[in-house]
């Protein structure tokens, strides 16, 4: 690591920061995946987490996932709220006995020295009503700031985890801001260069934040989105039905394409919610509909090659 040029150092550049995390987890034996190519609210939705957390097979992976939270957009005016941001996700199944230590070492790898900083594991039980998932763990604090989520999955997509997977989620912008010492996300140095060569997070994403905030709150086509939700829901069910091999509920052959439609429905729901066109009572109903899809996908997955018992 001595040979690392300045512009790649995690405390100088956002991209260097991400690469340092990837490198660290690669060394722990994780497969380093690329982001899933669909819009989703959190790294947990990536099939590498949601589906791979199920079933008995060993699975260690890490990846960056762009995450979309349409409601959190602030037209680029809030120093740390974004409708599109990055999560770094690690999943290890079964959870290794030294997962906490590995996590602390990963912080050291991005420049957070535990002899200098106050790092704490504060109770935070995780639950995703849309994914039919829950787990116990902590939010990890560094000097009073929440920098990661640490969860031992107990249930995902309505299926009991056996064995349990450990999941780590790092809020990349927030951590990088801390390490770089900036108060405004748009001031993050993206490429670690100085002067004319310097590219900031704002250079890359400020316009997008403004445009998507307009879209999410004022202009998104609700009528189309309502249709898309129904279409995704129907397609998901259709693919699930068609996927059972020989029509018997023993082996499933299309869990992944079906799950894509569940991801789609979930994101469309988030867009509708941001647009303010879903009432309080309807809201719970939509969440339940997505959960039903997720559960059915989980059930299909544990009947596939990668998800089932050997």
């Amino acid at each position: 690591m001595d040979a690392l040029p300045d512009h790649m150092r995690p405390e100088r550049s956002f991209q260097g920061f991400i690469l340092a995390l990837q490198r660290f987890w690669a060394e722990q034996g994780c497969v380093i995946l690329q982001p899933y190519d669909m819009e989703m609210g959190a790294g947990t939705f990536h099939p590498a987490t949601t589906l791979r957390a199920l079933g008995p097979k060993r699975w260690n992976a890490a990846y960056v996932q762009p995450s979309r939270r349409p409601k959190d957009g602030r037209y680029g005016e809030n120093p740390n709220r974004l409708q599109h941001y990055y999560q770094f996700q690690v999943i290890m199944k079964p959870s290794p006995p030294n997962l906490q230590d590995l996590y602390l070492k990963s912080l050291a790898a991005i420049g957070i020295d535990s002899a200098l900083h106050d790092i704490r594991f504060v109770e935070d039980d995780w639950e995703s009503p849309t994914l039919g998932a829950w787990g116990l763990g902590w939010e990890c604090w560094c000097d009073g700031m929440e920098v990661s989520q640490f969860t031992y999955f107990q249930q995902v997509a309505g299926v009991e985890c056996a064995p349990v997977a450990g999941e780590l989620t790092y809020g990349l912008e927030r951590l990088a801001m801390y390490v770089q010492g900036v108060d405004r996300v748009y001031d993050l140095n993206f490429n670690g260069r100085d002067g004319d060569e310097r590219v900031t997070y704002g250079d890359v994403y400020l316009q997008a934040e403004q445009e998507y905030s307009r879209h999410n709150f004022e202009h998104s086509d609700s009528e189309m989105l309502f249709k898309q939700f129904t279409m995704a829901e129907e397609a998901c069910k259709k693919y699930l039905d068609a996927g059972w091999k020989d029509g018997k509920r023993e082996a499933h052959l299309m869990a992944l394409p079906a799950y894509d439609q569940c991801i789609k429905a979930s994101h469309v729901f988030n867009l509708l919610d941001a647009r303010g066109v879903i009432s309080v009572t309807e809201r719970a109903n939509y969440i339940a509909r997505v959960r039903e899809l997720a559960k059915a996908c989980g059930d299909a997955w544990v009947h596939t090659e990668a998800g089932r018992a050997v």
Binding site: I119, R120, V122, L136
Partner: protein, 699 residues
């Protein structure tokens, strides 16, 4: 005698669960020891974020031998019963049993001698099931073993167990057991960051000392003392005062093994936000204490955090980091507060149309309308200005829709007051936003401003009558809508402010609004008064007053004026402490008893005025005269609400009653005289009902 040391070392245990877990561990282990015949001298349990520890000292090294007799089947019982008996007792044959003679048939007795076992073995047997079935509020599985069912559940992954047993002067034994691959031993670890190496321990004394050397303060109380003392010192060094907060102290002491208090500051411009908002922000989100200036009594721009390490730079980086987070949080809070100030409270109310209060009781908007109407009705009864009351009720709930209350629900009401003041509302109207929620419990302050009283009564009576209308009453320990608290609130508002409040009439009106809206039926009003009577009894009992007197007063019927009920109860209580009172009560009870016996015998009541021409004795005439006089005097006093006067009048009845029972035989041989005398007794009962139903009074 030997001591036990038990430590369960895990990943971070939620702060809120630690105290109870320590207590559960102590209770479960010591109960089991006692059940095994092992009486110990003392036990103490401790918790840190990473460990639960129990020390039990003075446990006998082995159990005493136990001899028990077990009764078996009768002689000649079927073979099946005999075999069962042999199996249960471990006897080889009936030859080993003795025979007990019995008139109902002789039977076998097995004498079972159970030799006492070494405590070490008993511990190895009783500890694993306690750990396996430990009552965590929430527990989880983890790691390789969670692939199989039946794997250990713990609050967070359990890493190691210490279990040693032995006397002070010798090397202790390890209690041999293992759970899910974790072998009990005598090794633990110190502070996660400052001393994470393994430590080998023998017993509690060296365990606690070695942990301390490894930067772990085992005793939660000691951690609290350190935090509190250091935080006070830090604040005082700058001429300030720590704003003490027991709940927060409990929580932060459960987040650290080695507490280090540090002080940070924030920009003074944030002091423009109400102090309660600053405190809520810093406390709830950051778990830090706030600091006040004793000269002004207001918050200063300082806060105190509790770190878990002695950082190599003395804590500079930690303070700077916390300051950044608090600055960002306060910026948000300031933004919320200032945004809230831009919108008038009344223009928020429209949103209540969409918010359901309870699925059977309509929206929040419906509720606000009902409270407004009811408050305006109550206003004249409590001498409140009707228009101000209406306005106050209109605005009282509006702050639920503000950003600050959305963020910090515990500031509801208070923020309403600030926002109402800021938009120039009348002082009473603004105050009612906060005060209409009061009193929250038996010790909470009771509002005294008439506008607040009117809105507070309306809010509570609307809630009570609503849930009564849809038949969602409290049952046993279940009171999800805090209806008991609401009723007690009404009682305290009325009594403390000495308000003459026609509860039945107002409740009926509150019901009316629900009925009009189509919820429930209109006939439940009869039910609400007993609920108030019960609450009043509980309240008086808690204050040490006699609750049976409440029954004696309510039993008169038509008593819905709580203030008068309490006054009557007070006067009655005092009267019953006097000789006159006690004797009159005895006399009245005697009259009642005789009457009820004779009523039963004759299967008729002895009502109606007695016939003066049938009086034969002077005592009869005197009693009749006294009843007449006392009845008139007591009645007049009651009308004037002079209950003490009514009691004084009542006292005059006593000599006549006593003399009557002394000299007069009620059951005279002549039926007409007897009937007349029973009617006279009935008159005593009737006369005393001017103040209370004496038959409901105990003793």
């Amino acid at each position: 005698m030997p001591d036990l040391l038990l430590e369960l070392f895990s990943e971070e245990i939620p702060a809120r669960m630690q105290a109870k877990a320590a207590d559960d561990l102590r209770r479960l282990v010591t109960d089991k020891l006692v059940a095994e015949g092992l009486v110990y001298d003392g036990a103490k349990a401790f918790a840190t974020p990473r460990r639960l520890t129990l020390t039990v000292h003075g446990i006998p090294a082995r159990q005493s031998d136990l001899k028990t007799e077990r009764r078996g089947p009768k002689i000649g019982a079927p073979d099946q019963a005999v075999q069962g008996f042999l199996k249960a007792t471990g006897l080889k044959s009936l030859d080993e049993a003795t025979i007990q003679k019995d008139p109902k048939g002789d039977f076998y007795i097995a004498l079972i001698e159970k030799p006492g076992r070494p405590t070490l073995d008993v511990l190895a047997e009783i500890l694993p099931p306690i750990i396996r079935t430990f009552p965590w509020p929430k527990s989880m599985r983890w790691g390789e073993r969670s692939a199989k069912s039946g794997s250990l559940n713990w609050v967070r992954p359990l890493h190691s167990i210490i279990a040693t047993f032995g006397i002070e002067t010798e090397e202790p034994d390890v209690v041999k057991f293992s759970i899910d691959g974790i072998e009990a031993g005598q090794t633990t670890r110190g502070h996660r960051f400052m001393a994470s190496a393994e430590i080998s321990v023998r017993r509690f004394d060296d365990y606690e000392a070695k942990l301390k050397a490894a930067k772990v303060v085992l005793d939660p109380q000691a951690r609290k003392d350190i935090i509190l003392a250091d935080a006070r010192t830090l604040a005082q060094a700058q001429g300030f005062e720590l704003v003490e907060d027991q709940v927060l102290l409990d929580e932060v002491s459960g987040l650290v093994e080695w507490p280090v208090a540090l002080m940070g500051s924030f920009d003074k411009e944030f002091l423009s936000i109400p102090g309660e908002v600053i405190r809520a922000t810093i406390r709830n989100n950051q778990k830090c204490f706030v600091v006040s200036d004793p000269k002004t009594g207001k918050l200063t721009n300082k806060f105190i955090l509790t770190a878990n390490i002695e950082a190599t730079d003395g804590g500079k980086v930690i303070v700077a980091g916390n300051e950044r987070v608090i600055r960002a949080r306060l910026s948000d809070a300031k933004f919320f507060y200032e945004t809230d100030l831009k919108t008038r409270l009344e223009s928020r109310l429209k949103k209540f149309d969409q918010i359901v209060f309870h699925e059977k009781l309509g929206t929040q908007a419906d509720r606000v309308k009902r409270i407004e109407k009811l408050a305006a009705e109550i206003a004249p009864l409590v001498k409140a200005d009707v228009e101000k009351t209406r306005r106050a009720a209109h605005l009282a709930k509006a702050d639920l829709l503000t950003e600050v209350v959305g963020e910090f629900p515990e500031l509801q009401g208070l923020m309403g007051k600030y926002y109402a003041q800021a938009q120039g509302e009348d002082a009473s109207v603004a105050a009612a936003s906060e005060e209409h929620y009061k009193p929250q419990g038996p010790t909470d302050r009771v509002p005294t401003d008439p506008v607040s009283i009117a809105v507070a009564l309306a809010d509570k009576l609307d809630t009570l009558s609503g849930f009564w209308a849809i038949n969602e009453k409290p049952t046993g320990s279940k009171d999800p809508y805090a209806l008991r608290r609401a009723a007690l609130g009404v009682i305290r508002l009325v009594i403390n402010n000495e308000i003459r409040f026609p509860l039945a009439q107002v409740s009926q009106s509150a019901f009316g609004s629900h009925v009009t809206a189509g919820y429930g039926m209109g006939d439940q009003v009869v039910d609400l008064l007993p609920f108030f009577a019960d609450r009043l009894k509980v309240q008086l009992r808690d204050q040490g007053a006699r609750h049976d007197l409440v029954d004696a007063v309510f039993s008169l019927g038509g008593q819905d004026d709580l203030l008068m009920v309490v006054r009557r109860v007070e006067a009655l209580g005092k009267f019953l402490e006097t000789d006159d009172g006690k004797n009159l009560l005895a006399g009245t009870k005697r009259a009642s008893n005789i009457l009820s016996i004779e009523e039963k015998k004759d299967k008729r009541a002895f009502e109606g005025a007695p016939d003066p021409s049938l009086y034969k004795l002077d005592e009869e005439k005197a009693l009749a005269k006294a009843i007449d006089q006392v009845g008139r005097e007591a009645g007049a006093a009651v009308v004037k609400e002079d209950f003490a006067g009514a009691m004084t009048a009542m006292a005059k009845l006593r000599p006549a009653v006593d003399a009557f029972f002394d000299k007069v035989k009620v059951n005279d041989d002549e039926p007409k005289v007897r009937e007349n005398r029973l009617k006279l007794l009935n008159e005593i009962r009737a006369a005393t009902r001017a103040v209370a139903d004496f038959s409901k009074i105990e003793g």
